[in-house]
Symmetry: D3
Subunit: 134 residues, 6 copies
């Protein structure tokens, strides 16, 4: 049984590799590397897989999952500049893939190990990534 | 190859465990346990996995799958009070997880065993569950 | 200039006219009149029309509009049974049309008269109503 | 007869009034005023109202409208920082309302005066504005 | 008070003016004029404006409106080739605009004159038209 | 890590098996076999699974994936009649299942073998298929 909670956050970012100069960044990342940042409405789906607790009929209480996501992810990234404001991306390019890994690692520490976690993150209506751990 | 048919139904329910008193139910289930029920537009996706029949180009005819879902699930639960009207939930708390298991078990009897089935059920725009059998 | 804020609430209801017996109610309202209630995820869009305040660049601060909707509408109707729990529908059939009028009247008292208000309420993916006052 | 074309663009911005200090900006605009910007997936609907050309069956060819929107709006604002990169917002707070007015004025110059124009702009799934001229 | 019912139908069409040769049609209509047709999932919203009937709490019963749309529009156009199968488009180019006018005229005969009607028709996720009569 | 790009195309088709006469085709495929074709807005999601390239933070650059889909799939099928214009379906019934297999095979030749591919194709809001190879 898998359950899913969806939340959203709005953030600015640019794709940028520090070891490369601006021309190389522009060549690889295109307009995603523009120096003054752009932004997205990120939509996050967190899937948790486990057995139903016969007492509650829940895998995990979706209210609890919601509060974990709001505290750990939305509070941290909403209305932020991922490159400038978030130490997680100080040395890590904030691609959708890397953001999903960062979110997965944060949530992994807050959700009991008996549950599997999958993080789906959509950056636009057309671009989406999914990470379920290594 | 997997195929999917989506249908919807509208129902009332409350989350409620008979062995617990009202205070305990409210503590665990919050406003989902309010005594006079609330309701949802449930959106159901039924995924069927199998091989393509070379005669038709179908795994299962989606018209057939549609009629099974309408007869077995929509007819049964649409515009009903899950707690009061549906014997399936007489002794089972109608959480999204438990509703998905009930639906999976009903459909399992109507769909040939050579096909795997997965049931996805969304309760709101933010809450969703998925069950693929044990 | 018009601005819009969208919020949702989940409620149970039945369509039912007290002056009519059950057979007449069933004839007119069909399965919407089933005695044990059903429910919906209501999606509410509140549109406010007026001029842009040159100080803020807002017609009305959407955060303020959000809080008015949460306090006055979501708090009042979410996870409720409209027929049993809400005095607004004690003598008023809770059709989408009547719910929209009730919401419009509540909001009209909280939003400055210099602004026009329109309330859009969707009951399902296929049914929607809109009310902009008389 | 009205026709509509929808396009999207992704941009960074902050709400900020130059005459106010940071504390005042934070008080009025909340987290929307954070200094390092955040961002959105803006969804733009451009409605054009007029009569059907009996030769083509079109009010305006939607391909033409699409190209005007891409050239004038998406090219200008996509993957930009509205505050830093766009002279339109050098002295204008980039609220959704003000962005809609700017877009309306740009399109007004490119679309024949015999047609009325309305611009709808959504900033998030919950916030939307509409401007149809003065 | 306005109410809305949404239904969908799937049809093939091509944009094509009989008085023009193929080269001229291709120049004006582009790939929409390809000779072997293409197709769309049309989504139709029918808005009906009038007063609430105090007996029912309805402007028009949405079940009734649904049946009129299914009988008159979906039955007529669903899984059809608009150019070849539908006499309405024998001498009329099946642009979204013209389809909306045809639908509006059909529905106008079935819905009481005391109600205003507006037809919204989307052809793709990006193209939409609206017609409310002359 | 999986990434996904979504694109759309509009095409006409009919379901039809050449070895069967019209009556048999109608019996099996219903209105999907009508002789003059109907059509759909197909929505395609292409999922690519692999490891994140530490240089870019990408599994595969979504811009690259977009261009492969546009060149290989949208260019090939958009505004076409699948039965008449597309040699892929000369002897293959263009069901959603078969279209997904054809797309998967085309993309498999363009995307490095170290990546797994899954193709999801929706034909309507209610019908969807998924193919991940044999």
């Amino acid at each position: 049984m898998k359950i899913c909670r969806r939340e959203t956050f709005n953030a600015a970012h640019r794709l940028f590799k520090q070891e490369w100069d601006d021309a190389k960044n522009l060549e690889v990342f295109g307009k995603c590397s523009y120096p003054n940042y752009h932004g997205h409405n990120y939509a996050l789906e967190v899937w948790v897989e486990g057995e139903i607790d016969p007492n509650t009929g829940f895998v995990v209480d979706l209210k609890t999952l919601k509060h974990i996501i709001l505290e750990e992810i939305v509070e941290r990234f909403d209305h932020k500049n991922l490159n400038l404001d978030c130490p997680e991306f100080k040395d890590l390019n904030p691609t959708a893939e890397n953001i999903a890994v960062v979110i997965w690692n944060i949530l992994r520490k807050r959700i009991d190990d008996k549950f599997k976690i999958e993080v789906q993150l959509s950056e636009t209506e057309k671009n989406k990534v999914s990470f379920a751990g290594l």
